[in-house]
């Protein structure tokens, strides 16, 4: 394996609220290689977005407090970097696209002036050069008349078109890492298929690393090389997409896969996971899944399990493994 472009070690991001400390991210470690797509799967409140946004400095502190860990981008710890350094990296070397393409575009500005902004700011391009690059970027994401699109306002576009604009904007600076936070969740399936194809194509061309956050196991199965499964701020399982889908070792991953409706087969029954996700401000320090887990033991309530490696590059955090 080559050197990772981004390596996060034992990241802890806690929200300090009136009701107590909410451990939104509690000891997450992962890395991404250039050219690779890392899928991050989890339900709402699992910390999958906060994890990425916290080390980029996109969440105000307070209420967020980074309680520990490192986030190394090309060897620089982003958690210790100065604000000016972060401004140079964000939207330049590390870009992000969000779920809601309507709220992430400025409704008052034409698409063109929003698209050239990162180029003028980060790459010292003249407005004319930037305009040309931006217009090519729009063509690359499949917008048929890029010049007209540059002069349009965001409200003139459909959701799918806006998300294309967001992708174009994120990629004009040729970033090393693209963080895509549920980029297709608000879109219709036929549009989602188009957007995923565009992302795959552009990744192959540029060799960037993609961190793809989603709750949709089907989307991850198609796009990710490796998958992280998160639950209640904790990492439960990590492995190649094949490991996680075919040889999953964690009861939560297994239960999640069983409870997902599928289009390719008629399922006679859908075994739901009982109960509800835990309240993050009232975690006890044990495994957060133990109340809903069909196979829990006494130790699960009090102690978070240590890492277990069922095979190289495949890790799982579950007490069941220790007994085996």
């Amino acid at each position: 394996m080559s050197a990772p472009i981004l390596e996060v070690k034992d990241l802890k991001a806690h929200f300090h609220t009136r009701r107590g400390i909410v451990k939104a991210v509690d000891g997450i470690s992962f890395q991404v290689q250039p050219g690779e797509t890392l899928g991050i799967v989890g339900e709402s409140g699992s910390g999958k977005s906060v994890c990425q946004m916290s080390y980029l400095g996109l969440i105000p502190q307070p209420p967020l407090r980074i309680a520990g860990g490192e986030a190394l981008f090309k060897g620089t710890d982003l958690l210790k970097a100065r604000p000016s350094t972060m401004r140079q990296l964000r939207g330049n070397r590390i870009s992000m696209i969000f779920q809601e393409p309507m709220t992430s575009l400025n409704p008052y500005l034409r698409i063109g002036s929003q698209l050239i902004e990162p180029l003028v700011l980060h790459c010292q391009k003249s407005k004319k050069e930037a305009w040309k690059i931006a217009s090519e970027a729009l063509a690359a994401v499949g917008i048929s008349d890029p010049e007209a699109a540059m002069r349009a306002y965001p409200h003139e576009f459909s959701g799918g078109m806006r998300q294309r604009v967001m992708i174009a904007m994120a990629l004009t600076t040729k970033p090393d890492v693209l963080i895509a936070d549920e980029p297709t969740t608000a879109l219709d399936v036929t549009v989602q298929a188009q957007i995923l194809e565009i992302l795959k194509k552009l990744q192959a061309q540029t060799g960037m690393a993609v961190i793809f956050i989603t709750h949709d196991l089907g989307v991850v199965a198609g796009i990710a090389d490796r998958v992280l499964v998160m639950y209640a701020g904790r990492l439960f399982e990590e492995g190649t997409t094949e490991h996680v889908f075919y040889r999953s070792h964690h009861p939560y991953t297994q239960a999640l896969l069983r409870s997902t409706p599928r289009i390719d087969v008629t399922q006679g029954s859908l075994p739901a996971i009982g109960g509800l996700p835990p309240d993050l401000s009232r975690l006890t320090g044990g495994c957060p899944f133990y109340e809903r887990c069909g196979q829990h033991k006494d130790v699960c309530a009090n102690q978070f399990p240590k890492v277990y490696w069922p095979e190289p590059n495949h890790r799982s955090y579950c007490h069941l493994e220790e007994a085996v």
Binding site: T190, A193, D216, G218, E242, L256, P261, T266, A272
Partner: protein
């Protein structure tokens, strides 16, 4: 036909639109639902699928008169529900109940669960405290909530639990038909499965009929007996569940099914997608002829001038497509 739980005939919902804010006339119309006919059989779950803007929610809301239909008929138990007024209408309303997508918006935050569940009973059936309490406890039990919930307010519950309360409210008048509009779309997978199983369970337990509106074709495959696919205000294909997924005939249905990801890496990567080009046309100015002709890969001249109608291609399987008519 008389055995059907509900028959919808040529239902149209056209919303008037102004060209500009100050233009005097409302001469143009947005045709959200443009001539939909369907039959809901007793004890079946009919899935109604389509992408955003296809009119599936407008149809569901028009059936229970939340939106005023422009024309058409909805027959429930031999009576035209849309022409009823006054007392007979109030009586008929108890037969059709609705479950909405957003359990945060569909429950009044200032009412306790008891009040939420008592309201329909007080309006339509009884004011007897004891009877109310018994009925409410029973319906809570059915949806898997304890009677401790009665004194709580909606904000004290999670999304999945709120949807259980909404289901209890829909059940409490013992309706014949339930219209569920995206009832699981705002829920996480693990909770979604709970609610889907609950909906299936109440359908069998009470023998009611359900229209399940959703954009999620995988969810619809799990829950429905029969499925209708909508595009731009019209139903383009109706078929029994397994037949629709095994051999979809309409080019739009084929493209739609091929676009849904499968949570299995090997299968997912080997799939051939049928790409849809272009954008969804505006329902204010839909294409002449077949609504899908602007994006269809099998389009030919006739499609652009003449609108196809639903025709039977197999038992209980109907498609509106000239290409399918050519080679049945």
């Amino acid at each position: 036909m008389s055995t059907a739980a509900m028959v919808v005939e040529d239902l149209k919902v056209h919303y008037p639109v102004r060209k500009h804010l100050f233009s005097p006339s409302k001469s143009t119309f947005l045709k959200a639902v443009d001539g939909v006919s369907l039959e809901l059989r007793p004890g079946e779950i009919l899935g109604l699928v389509g992408e955003s803007g296809c009119g599936k929610s407008s149809l569901g809301r028009a059936i229970i008169r939340l939106n005023k239909p422009t024309s058409g008929k909805v027959q429930i138990g031999g009576v035209d529900f849309l022409s009823l007024q006054g007392a007979p209408l109030r009586k008929a309303r108890t037969q059709v109940q609705m479950i909405f997508q957003d359990p945060y918006a569909s429950l009044d935050p200032r009412m306790t669960v008891f009040d939420i569940l008592a309201e329909p009973l007080v309006t339509h059936k009884t004011r007897d405290r004891q009877l109310l309490a018994r009925k409410i406890r029973l319906s809570l039990e059915t949806v898997g909530l304890s009677s401790r919930a009665l004194k709580k307010y909606p904000h004290e519950f999670s999304g999945g639990q709120r949807q259980r309360i909404a289901i209890a409210r829909a059940l409490i008048l013992e309706p014949k038909v339930i219209i569920a509009d995206e009832p699981v779309s705002s829920l996480d997978v693990s909770v979604q499965a709970q609610i889907l199983n609950l909906l299936k369970q109440i359908q069998t337990q009470f023998g009611l009929s359900m229209i399940f509106i959703s954009h999620n074709l995988a969810v619809v495959r799990y829950i429905s007996d029969r499925i209708a696919v909508m595009y731009l205000g019209k139903i383009v294909e109706v078929a029994p569940r397994d037949e629709l997924y095994r051999s979809p005939r309409h080019p739009y249905t084929q493209a739609l099914i091929s676009a849904v990801p499968i949570p299995d890496p090997r299968l997912e990567r080997e799939r051939r997608r049928i790409p849809l080009t272009g954008e969804l046309p505006s329902p204010i100015n839909p294409p002449k002829g077949c609504a899908f002709c602007t994006r269809c890969s099998k389009v030919f001249d006739r499609c652009r001038t003449e609108a196809p109608v639903l025709r039977s291609v197999a038992s209980a399987h109907s498609v509106s497509c000239f290409e399918v008519e050519k080679s049945p």
